[in-house]
């Protein structure tokens, strides 16, 4: 096979690669080739803008105004939480609280942080559920639950392989419903919102899955949190 033949073969993959339409193994093989092929790199640079403009081609729908309120309220709550030395919330209360009360305060702040998930649900109770990690994983965390939604806060998550994600699942009896897909920050910490479906579920589980998530778990759960 000549160099031209080889290049032609890979060149045919280029558009599918740019459109994210290659299988994972094909993507890895193409990226290995791309690293050493200046012709493919040049073609990629030329074609890339054609893919970049595709999102702009969709009809524009104004988002509901409540969405803005929910997202920005969450950001403001998290910004306050990230700066405990500033007056307000935990920074002001923590020194005077015993551990149990501090946990409740944390839950209350976290409930503020997930306000976007839960809206204004007067009278809905917020509860914090401990996470039970599978032996040997070293994962710690909690699930702050409010009505039909929750936020999962985890630390010590193990590293993921390339093109893997963590995926949350809600179990109802023997039925598993796929939920949020997330990746941890450096150091293994992660915060993931469970936007709906918590009400009536028996348990939340987290597994490792391929990058786009799965319809059914393909690995053993790393952790569980009882929702009953």
């Amino acid at each position: 096979m000549t160099a031209d033949d080889s290049h032609r073969r890979w060149s045919e993959e280029l558009s599918a690669y740019l459109l994210d339409a290659l299988e994972p193994a094909e993507t890895e093989a193409f990226e290995r080739h791309l690293g050493g092929c200046e012709r493919c790199q040049g073609e990629l640079r030329w074609l890339e803008p054609a893919v970049d403009v595709l999102p702009a081609s969709v009809p524009q729908h104004p988002p509901p105004p409540e969405l803005r309120g929910r997202i920005l309220a969450t950001a403001r709550a998290e910004a306050r939480q990230a700066r405990p030395s500033e007056p307000g919330l935990l920074g002001r209360w923590r020194p005077a609280l015993r551990p149990a009360a501090a946990l409740a305060a944390t839950a209350a702040v976290a409930a503020g942080a997930v306000g976007y998930l839960i809206g204004e649900q007067e009278g809905t109770q917020t509860t914090t559920v401990p996470v039970t990690a599978m032996a040997g994983t070293g994962v710690e965390g909690e699930l702050v639950r409010h009505g039909d939604s929750a936020i999962l806060r985890l630390e010590g998550l193990p590293p993921l392989a390339r093109r893997q994600v963590f995926q949350a699942w809600l179990r109802r009896g023997d039925r598993l419903e796929p939920s949020t897909v997330f990746v941890p920050q450096r150091g293994g910490a992660a915060t993931a919102g469970i936007p709906r479906g918590v009400e009536g579920a028996d348990e939340l589980m987290v597994t490792r899955e391929r990058r786009r998530g799965s319809r059914r778990p393909t690995s053993a759960p790393l952790l569980r949190a009882s929702l009953q």
Partner: protein, 193 residues
């Protein structure tokens, strides 16, 4: 109020370091610039307003919470944001709509004209003008080329899945992707020159 005005004058690339430092006022400006485009792309992919809201929330808050932040080497802020939204929307589409066929037609600009979002800045006006041009370019593609591009980009199918769906050899699917992208690219180059 003065600070809010000052933030609004910042370019996207100047705003993002403030967002990375968890400045809620900067994030508010960021939302006002990119929220509608994010929601529209999510809506296009998942096809329902509730799902689009969930995805927009998840994607924009993931950006807000991201430790690594925006890297200018990845392209424009808008492209980066929409890339994050697209990945999440495709995830949701795949998980929740396995039996639903994606919309194949390229949608026209009528809906855009009927429900315009406010053009708050020159940059936004330019983006909307670009969007109109791109829709024109896409409409000019032969249907066989636009269909494979739509199935890959907006529905998240791989080339082999598309080949199966359309009853075509994989080579034909790849060829149509290539021809379609080449035409879009050539038209973009013409529009710029």
């Amino acid at each position: 109020m003065k600070r809010a005005k000052a933030l609004e004058r910042l370019a996207d690339e100047e705003l993002m370091p403030l967002v990375a430092r968890k400045d809620p006022a900067a994030f508010e400006v960021f939302y006002d610039r990119h929220g509608a485009a994010a929601y529209s792309l999510a809506y296009r992919i998942v096809g329902d307003p509730t799902g689009a809201e969930d995805i927009t929330q998840e994607a924009l808050l993931a950006i807000w919470r991201s430790q690594s932040g925006y890297d200018p080497a990845r392209g424009s802020v808008r492209s980066w944001v929409l890339g994050v939204v697209r990945n999440r929307a495709i995830d949701a589409f795949r998980r929740e709509s396995s039996k639903r066929m994606p919309k194949l037609e390229l949608e026209g600009g009528a809906e855009l004209e009927a429900r315009p979002a406010p053009e708050q800045t020159d940059a936004e006006a330019l983006r909307r003008e670009t969007a109109r041009e791109v829709r024109g370019v896409l409409r000019e593609l032969p249907e066989e080329q636009s269909k494979v591009i739509e199935l890959a980009f907006f529905a998240g199918f791989t080339h082999s899945q598309i080949a199966e769906l359309l009853g075509l050899p994989i080579g034909t699917v790849k060829g149509r992707m290539r021809l379609g992208l080449e035409k879009i690219r050539a038209n973009l180059a013409e529009a710029v020159s």
